[in-house]
Subunit: 248 residues, 2 copies
Amino acid sequence: MAHDDLPHGTLTCGECPIRHRAVCARCEPTELGELERIKYYRSFEAGQTVIWAGDQMDFVASVVSGIATLTQTMEDGRTQMVGLLLPSDFVGRPGRARAAYNVIATTDILMCCFRRKPFEDMMERTPHLAQRLLQMTLDELDAAREWMLLLGRKTAREKIASLLSIIARRDASVNMMPSIGRMSFDLPLTREAMADYLGLTLETVSRQISALKREGVIELAGKRHVTVPDMDRLMFEAGDDSDGGLVG
Amino acid sequence: MAHDDLPHGTLTCGECPIRHRAVCARCEPTELGELERIKYYRSFEAGQTVIWAGDQMDFVASVVSGIATLTQTMEDGRTQMVGLLLPSDFVGRPGRARAAYNVIATTDILMCCFRRKPFEDMMERTPHLAQRLLQMTLDELDAAREWMLLLGRKTAREKIASLLSIIARRDASVNMMPSIGRMSFDLPLTREAMADYLGLTLETVSRQISALKREGVIELAGKRHVTVPDMDRLMFEAGDDSDGGLVG
DNA sequence: GGTATCGCTTGATATGGGTCAATTTGCGCG
DNA sequence: CGCGCAAATTGACCCATATCAAGCGATACC
């Protein structure tokens, strides 16, 4: 199977574009064949719960298309989103018996699943695979820590600006575009989902978006399509380092 | 070298007590010998910066004794703690050229360091080591996500109660004690550090601790020594699930 | 022994964002 | 084309936490 024919979201190596990230067909043809044998596809409709906190997880998976969220919930219903799963993202931790949070489909999604046991067995034997997963997990950890700064110390306005600039950048990286100057993209989340992500209420999200629009930091076409006339301005509003440098 | 003679904080296997966590002398004597050859010790005084965001990191390390914190900082000085390094915790991610945050010694600390390059080379060859690091990183990720819920959705009182119960449990696990009923421990952090951890101001931390004391949830001897008459009560105040179950 | 300092506590006041409630917008569907 | 409903907006009010400020107690240092 040629590298370019791989289904979107297939596990591939670190040299490939962002959407393919764990084991490379070119680098490891034998391993890829083995992965092919233990994989299957599952699809879920928007709103469906893919994994419930406490579930026995019998598979690990990579998102092929669509968007899902990881959420933590308190007994009284307060919820906090703790991660966003976009195409190519991996879910289901090898070695974990149970899930610690809910995975909920935001749009219809398709996932490429691997049965847990054979996947873990394979990981035992192939350092390359364990290392790729380690890299991906470290990336997630960095993102989670960045998010902790946002949740703990940023104002509502900065939180919104941060979220917009992150979505803009992920969008740009998928389309292989630079994320500077004027940019347009669709919001893949409702106001409520944004609020859960940012530790705010949906009313505050709405008010801050209106404020940014009123002040010309963003333009809105409909409720979901955003145009940012000047990414630098948005990054400034987000309170991020002006050098934009992602260290680490 | 007998297993029990290993210096506190040495990398060991998953079957060992919490303080020894990456590679096991009994399981992998050869590898341990190799690790022995590339390791050295470094100590830092309280307040010293061990690693500065943006640093080229030439080593990875495991905390042997003392406490350090991971912090993120914004340009205007707002800081958010994003991790706590206790004895046995690992820092310096293989494959990362630069640090993404500051590591600051809270007390005098001793670290067991491994030169980066040989460590990574060794990881290439030993699936066991990469897998142990993956496990540890997944644990950290779970903790980070738990923390995101706290930062985004908990009240000041719940935040304080959560922090106290986490410290109590870590303390108990180090001393191999159960973490139920009546417990005593020392706070390893100043009020300001607690505030940075919780996304609060130090005044609010102080007020909430006073309130918990006034209401009998905790007792204080001096400013740092805490006694919890009833862990269940504290957990209730923390807003955590009453079943106490750590799923995942 | 006196005093400067640091960590902490407590009080008074200000304010950002939450809460509750009323509309408005926009989209799917008969 | 208009109905119905969910999502989003906007307003009024309130409260939890931040901010600013004063004072306390222990420890270190001359």
